[in-house]
Structure formats: C-alpha cells, structure tokens
C-alpha cells in the first residue's frame, strides 16, 4: 500500500513531517471517503488474501487430477467445479491469483516473492526511469536518440511486441515479466523525462551540480525522489494493465507453461468445452481476471478523483 501513503503525502500537504502510521491513516481516510475506491479496494483485497492464504483455503493442489470427475459443475466437494482433467477450479483460481500477485515462479522449485505482474511493472519502472532520467537530464543527442528509439517502439502495435518477444523467448513466467517490462518501458520513460525536464531547472539541482556531484547521483538521488508522486500513481494503473497483459498472453498460449495455474491459459483451455456443455472452466477465470482488473481501476480512479478534490 505504498501508493496510498504516497498520494496522501502529496495530497494533504501536512504542515510538518508526519509519521509512517499517520501517512497510512491519511491515505485510508481519503480512500474510504470515495465509494468507488472502497469497492475497488475490497475486490483487490479479496484477491490478495485469497492468493496469500491459498494453501489454507482449499484442500486440493492446483495440479491434482481426478480422472473420475472431469468437467463437473459446482458441487459440495468442488465448490466451483472441475476442469477437463478433474482439477479443482477453486484451487486453480486462487493459486492463479498467487502467481499474479504474490509469487514469481522461476523454476519448478524456486520462486521470488511479489507477483509476476508486479515484477513486470517494477522492471519497466526501472528501465523506463533510467532512460527517462538520462534523456531528460543529459538532453542533446542522447535525448534525441533515446526518444526516437522509444517513438519507434511505441508505434509498434503492442500485441505484436508481446507476440514477438514471448514467442522468441519461449513461454515462462520470467519471460512474461520481460515482455511486460519491455512494452511498459517507453511510457514510463516519457513520463519520467517530462518530469525531469521540469525538475532539472530547480535550484537544488544547480546546487548539486556546483558541488560537483556525479551525473548518476543527481539523476537518482536528486531528481528521482522528487518525481515519485506521479510515477507511483502511474505505476498503479500499470499493475492493472500488466494483469490484463498476463491474462492475454496466457490466453494466446504464451503465458506460464502448463500445468501451472494461469488464468489466461485456463480460459483458453476451458473455451474448448463450452459448447460441449461445461462452461465453468472458462467462466471462473474470466470472472477472476475481470474482477481484479476492474477492482484495481476502480481503486486508482477513486483515489485520483479524491486526491484531486483535496488539492
């Protein structure tokens, strides 16, 4: 919830430096005063908790097959039904949320904390911020080259970029992160560049230059922290888009390799069985991804509206 506290920080403009908990409290107050943001928060929290406590919420493993019960509707034993291999859909759904929000599987055994979609956003922030800072602060021919290059990248249809990147590198969670990062980079870079162009004219930058600080120090220690507000709000919207992208890639068969629970590929597989009479395997993951993305957008929208009102 760093995003909340940051927006609160810039929005309410407290007279003196307030503590960490005070920041969170202010953020929550803003959040809860908007009905849309509250609804969004509830949806997002639902998925975060489901993902976090997935092993406690279901007795089944997401890859456990039951050949006696394929393509079932909701029953007492399987609350959301089963897929074509008899795997429990509720279990696959919440473990799928885990991949999106909580863990980044690297191989069969190892995984990193923080979800795949979020890593994608973090990586695009890293690349984009570096390029944007460099471009905006140094200017000149470096700026020209970087911006022309990013323009060219932005003019390529996004779906094409995803297709080429992921087919080239093969389907895995790490490659999905890379794809999301590459596609997101130009947007972040442009935002950071425009913020940098503004900030670099300030007096404290001139002071740092006079002190003889290195370019890297000025870029990352002087400029970046002063540009964080807009970057963080932008990042929140990007998380929603990264989840969207992850689902789309999974649906096209470019997401996590089977049998890992991946919402997009669950829909792609379940789709084949709709017309033969079992819609559940396609329905639940579609609802899951739709609700999570809508929740995030409601949250970001409500938050933006409220902070604007405070300003």
């Amino acid at each position: 919830m760093t995003a909340t506290e940051e927006t609160a920080d810039t929005a309410t403009l407290p007279p003196e430096r307030t503590g960490f908990f005070q920041n969170i409290k202010n953020g929550m107050l803003i959040l809860l005063s908007s009905k849309t943001a509250t609804i969004g928060l509830i949806i997002v929290l639902f998925w975060v908790f489901a993902a976090l406590f997935a092993p406690l919420l279901t007795p089944y493993s997401p890859t456990e097959q039951d050949w006696r019960a394929p393509n079932q509707g909701p029953t007492m034993k399987h609350p959301l039904g089963t897929d074509e291999l008899g795997r429990d859909l509720w279990s696959r759904l919440i473990y799928g949320a885990r991949v999106v929000l909580i863990t980044l599987p690297i191989s069969d055994r190892t995984w990193l904390p923080i979800g795949t979609a979020i890593w994608g956003v973090v990586a695009s922030l890293l690349f984009g911020a570096t390029l944007g800072l460099l471009s905006g602060y140094r200017g000149g021919w470096i700026d020209e080259i970087i911006m022309r290059f990013l323009d060219a990248m932005m003019s390529i249809p996004i779906i094409l970029l995803y297709l080429i990147i992921v087919t080239a590198m093969g389907a895995s969670a790490l490659n999905v992160v890379i794809a999301i990062a590459i596609v997101g980079t130009p947007g972040v870079a442009r935002l950071v560049r425009s913020l940098t162009l503004d900030i670099r004219t300030r007096d404290y930058i001139r002071a740092a230059e006079t002190r003889g600080e290195s370019t890297l120090f000025i870029m990352f220690v002087e400029i970046l922290p002063n540009a964080k507000g807009p970057i963080i709000i932008d990042a929140m919207l990007r998380v929603g888009y990264a989840i969207f992208a992850m689902g789309t890639l999974g649906f096209l068969g470019l997401g996590l390799p089977p049998p890992s629970p991946d919402w997009g590929s669950m829909v792609a597989k379940g789709r084949e069985f709709i017309l033969s009479g079992s819609p559940w395997a396609a329905l639940w993951p579609s609802i899951a991804i739709a609700s999570l993305v809508v929740g995030l957008n409601l949250l970001a929208d409500g938050l933006r509206e409220e902070t604007m009102r405070y300003q």
Binding site: I158, L160, L163, G247, L275, A290, V294, N297
Partner: protein, 432 residues
C-alpha cells in the same frame, strides 16, 4: 506542413526497417526449428540439412535478411552470369528462368551426368535438349555449373557428385535423388520489390493469403467502428453534460469496466450468454471460401465484443473532453446570455468537445489491433491477427514479417493521419 509529412513518412520507413530487422533477429535467436515444424519431428539430420539448403535457411543471417529485403535474383545472376526473369504461367505458378542470348528462356536439370536444358521460346513452346557444353572445369579439374533448376533455385551442380537430395512433396512424401546440386540460392524478388516470399506453414505465397486475411480483419474492425463511433460519442456527450450526475457515474463506470476487462474475458461472457444459455447465436465462426459474408450471424458476437471494448474507451475520452468544455467560461457566458440549453450544447460545446476524441481514436488503432487479434482467436475468425499468431508460433518468418509490416504500416500511418486531421480541427496547432 509538407516538410512535416515528408519527415514523418521517412520516420515511418525507418521504423519499418528497424522492426523488420528486429523481427528477423529475434526469430533467429529463439528456440524452435522451422524444418521440424514443416516436416515433423522424425526427420533425419540429412533430410533436415537438405531442406535447410533448399529453402536457403542455411545461409548466414545477414544474407537471408538481404534476400528477404531486396531479393536474391541479383546474387543468382552474379553467379550464373546470365540474366534471370520471373514469369507467371497460365496455371498461376511463379517460375524463374534464365534468359539465353537468343532471347529464349531456359532451365536445367541433371539426368545422370547429363545436363538437360528445358527451353521455353518466346511463343510459349517448351522443349528439352541436352546441354552438356555448359560444364566448366575448375582448378581441381571438377566440372561444375551454375544454373536455374526446376524448383526456382539458382544452383551449383558438380559433375559426378553423389550428393543426396531429399525433396518433400506435399501429398506424396519424400523423394530421394542423388547427384543433386551442392549449393542453392532460392530465388525471390524481395519484400521491397513486392514479393514477401512463400509461407512455410501453408506452402503458399504469403501475398496470396495475407490480403484475404487483412480484408476479413478490416470487415470486422469496420463494422465495429461504424457501430461504436456514433454511439460512444453520443453517450460520452450525455455523460459529460453534467459531471457527477447519476447518468455520468453510471456511464463512465460501466464504460471503464468494458474497456479494462480483457477482450478474451468479454468474449467468453458473451459466448456463454448468447450461445450457451440463450442459445440464439453461434459461438464460433466457421467460414468457407466466401468469408466473411456467408454467415452474417457468425459476425455478431465478434463485432459485439470489439464494440463493447472500444465503446468504453471512446466514451470515457468524449466524456472527459465534454466535461472540460462544459466547465469553461465561454459556456457559462453562453448560459448567462440566456441562450436555450440545447442550443448552447449543440452549437457551442459539442463542436469543441469532439476535437480530442476524434484524434485520440486514430491513435487508438494501435490498441484496437491487439483487441482484434484476441477477438479473432476467441471466435476462430480467419483474420490477420490469427494468421500472425500462428506464423509467430511456427517461426514462419516470411508470413510473420509481412504481417508485421502491414500492422506497423497501419499503426504509424493512422498516427500520421491523426496528426494531420488534428491541424484541421484545431488550427492553433502548427507543426514545423
């Protein structure tokens, strides 16, 4: 203005060049194997090598890119020291022939150790004759000959060579022959001269299938566009008229929901509702030759999916633009002057409020393409997006490059159009 357009045009060509090179490099460096994709997993290494040589895939990457970009006939002509010509036969096959000094067209094949020439005269007569005088001995005393074979390659034959060649003929399987050529240059005109090459996946020239696919996609996008535009602009204006009213909140929140839900999820919801529970519309598209017009009812769900997604986006843009205009001082002045409400709305507000949406929509084509690819996959619609996806997964480089170029051209071209239209709608903008 003209300078601006020319500059952007060259920037577009540069983008296409860079993208085509990137696609080539990335496809090259990725895992997977075209030979195995085309011929199945059980080919022998010799068969694979023979296939790679015949398709020119064994060449170094810079040469293949050059062949793809500007063609390979110049290279063949250099090796053969004879001009080459491409003709289209009565049966609509593309054939490459060498041009003899007397103007007749000629190709060769090897029968045993004898070189046999197939000659095609200007009046269309075709006959065969032995042509053994063309062998030239090199320094080691081996007789070699560079010529055009019957499968549109420039090849190098070596007399007495026992090189085995496997040719894969669709329908009849492998044909093994000995004494085959030792080097191949597959002939093509190159993308810049209007020949995107042959697709490995379908075995047909890319140019023949890709435009049909493009037309199908354009039909889908066109119908959706015609429905979306008036509806979204109207609803957006209604929502923007009174910011914060119930109508506004309802329209903008549902618009947001439609535009952020992934296309495949929307597609699944609509399929479930209309073809599974209500059972009134077909949930997949199965077209024959007359696609897409033979079953208009199959178009309804794909168009509806695309419409919902675009509707939300355009609606929100129009709404915010309209709301901004309604807040502006000149609108307040118009009201205070005592002008009737609807007159202020239509004569003063709407015209200014539409500038932003119209240009933003053009910029949105980039995004729309992504939507179309997904919708095509969801409903099995035979459009460009599905073609592109299959080509990418198959590593079918010629088809992938052609599809990519079309998409980049569309995306960059519409962005240029948007910029030009913008100068007409908003005369304050000047490009220099």
């Amino acid at each position: 203005m003209l300078k601006f357009i020319v500059r952007r045009f060259f920037l577009m060509l540069l983008t296409m060049f860079l993208v085509s090179m990137a696609v080539f490099l990335i496809t090259e460096s990725s895992p997977g194997n075209v030979a195995k994709n085309v011929l199945g997993a059980f080919i022998t290494p010799e068969q694979e090598a023979s296939f790679l040589a015949q398709t020119g895939l064994d060449k170094p990457i810079y040469l293949r890119y050059l062949y793809w970009l500007v063609g390979s006939d110049w290279h063949g002509e250099m090796k053969m020291d004879m001009p080459l010509r491409r003709i289209t036969t009565e049966d609509d096959f593309v054939e490459w022939w060498a041009v003899r000094k007397d103007g007749a067209l000629v190709r060769w094949n090897l029968e045993g150790d004898d070189l046999t020439a197939t000659v095609r005269t200007a009046d269309g007569k075709v006959f065969k004759e032995p042509d053994n005088d063309r062998w030239t001995a090199d320094a080691k005393g081996v007789s070699t000959f560079w010529g055009v074979d019957l499968q549109n390659h420039v090849v190098k034959w070596e007399k007495g060579s026992d090189k085995k060649v496997w040719t894969f003929v669709v329908g009849s399987g492998w044909m093994e022959t000995t004494g085959g050529p030792i080097r191949y240059i597959p002939l093509k005109k190159g993308f810049m001269r209007g020949d995107p090459g042959v697709s490995f996946r379908t075995g047909r020239p890319v140019a023949k299938s890709i435009f049909i696919r493009l037309r199908n996609s354009l039909v889908l996008a066109g119908i959706a566009f015609v429905i979306v535009m008036p509806l979204a602009l109207l609803l957006g204006i209604i929502a923007g008229l009174k910011e914060g009213s119930f109508k506004d909140r309802f329209l903008s929140i549902s618009g947001m929901m439609f535009s952020v839900i992934p296309e495949f999820a929307t597609g699944i919801f609509l399929t479930l509702i209309f073809s599974y529970w209500l059972n009134i519309l077909p949930g997949a598209t199965v077209f024959g030759q007359q696609a897409p017009w033979e079953r208009p009812d199959m178009l309804i769900l794909p168009v509806l999916t695309l419409t919902l997604i675009e509707l939300g986006y355009v609606l929100r843009i129009t709404r915010s633009s309209m709301a901004e205009v309604m807040r502006s001082p000149y609108i307040r002045t118009a009201f205070l002057k005592g002008l009737p409400y609807w007159r202020v709305v239509f004569k003063h507000a709407v015209r200014n409020a539409l500038i932003a949406p119209i240009t933003v929509i053009m910029l949105h084509v980039n995004w729309l393409m992504g939507g179309i690819v997904i919708v095509e996959v969801v409903f099995g619609y035979p459009g460009l997006g599905q073609y592109l996806l299959k080509s990418a997964l198959y590593k079918d480089i010629n088809a992938l490059e052609a599809g990519t170029m079309i998409m980049v051209l569309l995306a960059v071209g519409t962005q240029l159009c948007a910029d030009i239209i913008y100068t007409f709608l908003n005369p304050r903008i000047r490009y220099s």
